[in-house]
Symmetry: C2
Subunit: 153 residues, 2 copies
DNA sequence: GTTAATTCTGCGATTACCGCACATTCTTTG
DNA sequence: CAAAGAATGTGCGGTAATCGCAGAATTAAC
């Protein structure tokens, strides 16, 4: 769905991203002052970053706090093209995160479920997908840390 | 650092969260209209959700797009209290995500690094932590899907 | 049933946002 | 290298959103 080009970001773009990683609702005026641009220019740059899907500004929550009692990571071994299997997994609604990896799993998939029967159903559906050879599920017991302000380089 | 109580969220709070999961920069006026409150009340509720750390509004990016070429998930087996080890891991700057799990790993840890030597150094530091018995690293090759609008229940 | 605390509404006063015309800088390209 | 074209930035006026606060309404506690 997204065709990536390794976009080049200048120092101003990176500082804007870092500011919004700290506070996604920062005003354009505040951003402009922080990076030394006019308000209109700052606004244009934020819009560009959003439109190009380099960055998105969203609310993030601990799923367990908003009614999803079962979360899990599923390690998956595939046959055929892992990227294609990854695309198929990405279509599953309960899946919020898919990465292709090197190691004893080909894909790591995070799923968000309401309860145990729901998780069971998701695992069943995942294992039935074409190209999925085996899977191993890690049920989440506690979310210890979750942050997004890793900055830029 | 965060003392969790399973906070009870009413329907309005959940709808506000869902709206901001779609667009973290939605105006208070728009939120108010959507949930049927005055602008001031909507603003107060958003502030409360932010202050109580139930929700945070932030910019999220694909790390590879902003200069971090090496990302990985590290599966960790521990001895002693996994939660304590998790807390220690959470203090590592390059670690952005820590979950305690049930399964063949006790903890899953996501790390964001600039390059291979950086990743190597992080893995070394992680393995030296007290309580870490063994670790297995899954280097990310591609981020297939990443989304945050899983809604509420 | 009264009190206290929380939450909501309804405003002005202030600030931010948006769109647009024009200036500036950076890239092609002949 | 000069001119054309594309980005990117500035300034500003009109509109809309935000903020702070006083008082009403609702909810919880006793």
């Amino acid at each position: 769905m997204s065709s990536e080009g390794p976009v080049k970001l200048d120092a101003t773009a990176k500082r804007i991203i870092e500011l919004l990683q700290e506070d996604g609702r920062a005003s354009y005026a505040a951003i402009a002052k922080a990076v030394g641009l006019s308000e209109a220019a700052a606004r244009a740059r934020v819009q560009k970053l959003l439109d190009s899907e380099i960055m998105q500004v969203v609310a993030v929550t601990d799923p367990t706090q908003v009614g999803f009692t079962r979360q899990a990571m599923i390690g998956i071994r595939t046959e055929g093209d892992p990227l294609q299997v990854g695309d198929r997994l990405a279509e599953v609604a309960e899946v919020d995160y898919v990465v292709t990896t090197a190691g004893s799993f080909d894909l790591l998939v995070e799923v968000v479920c309401e309860d145990d029967p729901h998780l069971l159903d998701v695992i069943r559906r995942v294992r039935e997908l074409e190209g999925v050879v085996s899977s191993e599920t890690f049920v989440y017991l506690k979310l210890n840390k979750q942050h997004y302000n890793w900055g830029t380089r």
